[in-house]
Symmetry: C2
Subunit: 240 residues, 2 copies
């Protein structure tokens, strides 16, 4: 007989939530032992396999570490490598606040190469949004974002000075971004860019071209960014 689900939430998920609540609430700190499989099974009145499933899921998400013969322990807080973050989120992570200045916002329909990256027809209409990113009162980056104009009607009317493009897409259009593929290289500042970023002409900049995908692998944003290398570096974790 399967356990009655009080609210449609699977038992293993309820167990996970209970543990996460204790971790996030500070009751359990990194290194602390989590209830063992057998304890969880008893407490939540489920079978051992179900308790086990709950812990295995948390381990996969990097929230706990399991050591055979020893127990299950709260994992040290993850450093967020290779995490897709908005400009706002990146600054917040470092304890900073920033702002953006919109350099231009327009609809373009003759950018076939960029349209192709968004899987749009060659002359598909796109919203082009050019923003100067400012952190700590110094210009930081110049980012140009392209999104399909037909998929996001009225986006040009949203004030993007205060709220991130990511959250607008999420809240107003129900689009959740999932991952991004980036190509990164170095380039020298051309005169116009040097002016805007307040660096000498020819100064080295990080150049990033990013295709941001929403669920089902749909390419949603194309972002082209130039970053002052004296104020910005990338952190990447690679795996063997």
């Amino acid at each position: 007989m399967a356990q009655v689900r009080r609210n449609g939430t699977p038992a293993y998920k309820r167990i996970q939530d209970a543990i996460l609540k204790r971790i996030d609430g500070g009751a359990l700190k990194p290194g602390d032992a989590v209830d063992s499989e057998r304890e969880l099974a008893r407490i939540h009145r489920v079978s051992l396999m179900t308790a086990r499933h709950a812990l295995a899921g948390l381990e996969r998400e990097g929230r706990v570490e399991r050591r055979r013969g020893a127990g299950t322990f709260v994992a040290p807080p993850r450093i967020h490598f290779n995490k897709l973050m908005s400009f706002t989120e990146q600054l917040a992570m470092r304890g900073l606040t920033g702002r953006s200045k919109t350099v231009s916002a327009s609809v373009v329909e003759n950018e076939p190469e960029i349209a192709a990256r968004l899987s749009l027809p060659p002359h598909g209409r796109m919203i082009k949004l050019e923003r100067l990113r400012i952190g700590g009162d110094e210009p930081f980056a110049l980012e140009t974002a392209y999104v399909s104009a037909d998929d996001f009607p009225g986006l040009t009317k949203v004030p993007l000075e205060r709220v991130s493009l990511f959250s607008v897409l999420d809240r107003d259009f129900g689009v959740t971004l999932v991952h991004a593929d980036e190509e990164i290289d170095a380039t020298a500042a051309d005169p116009r860019t040097a002016d805007q970023l307040q660096v000498p002409r020819g100064a080295p900049l990080l150049r990033m071209r990013q295709i941001i995908y929403s669920s089902h692998g749909k390419p949603t944003i194309y972002m082209f960014g130039l970053y002052r290398s004296d104020r910005h570096s990338l952190l990447i974790r690679r795996f063997r």
Copy 2:
């Protein structure tokens, strides 16, 4: 009664291996249906949970996709983003072969900052290996690697012209590299570097500082690299 293990290999692993063999052998192509849980349980004479465990593991590794109500299918081959690769492997992936020229190989013992990154005492002895990377007869990158001299005695005597540092560490010292943390930014070529990489002075270069970890999170290699941005770009995948 637990299933007798013929050779110490868990049943779920044997099932995974059997499926992977069919995929890698070409008998199953991306999109093809894999045996269902019930079929696997019958064929391999295991319980449903065990067959399920096998498929769940393959799904986590990205080898199969599971669709409720439909079945389990071979996943399209993954593009290897964010994968830690040696210089040799990177070139091979692009169908190229390359070579290296050792610029210098020495033992240093007064590089406290780098020693710290390898968790060594401030004046710990390290092998410093400076190599010019050449691909398609053009210089490509200048890489300087540091490893603990005490942990890898005799490493300076190994000819690293033909064989990668990664494989030497693996084969001769039993050290398996697991992941790396990288910091990336852009810089301008100083005169000496410009000379060696055959680019104009001040040309933009990608600069990469890498700490490569072996198992148990032990920092093993510190690598400092300068890459010609006209011949090299990074591909990164980020996740939300």
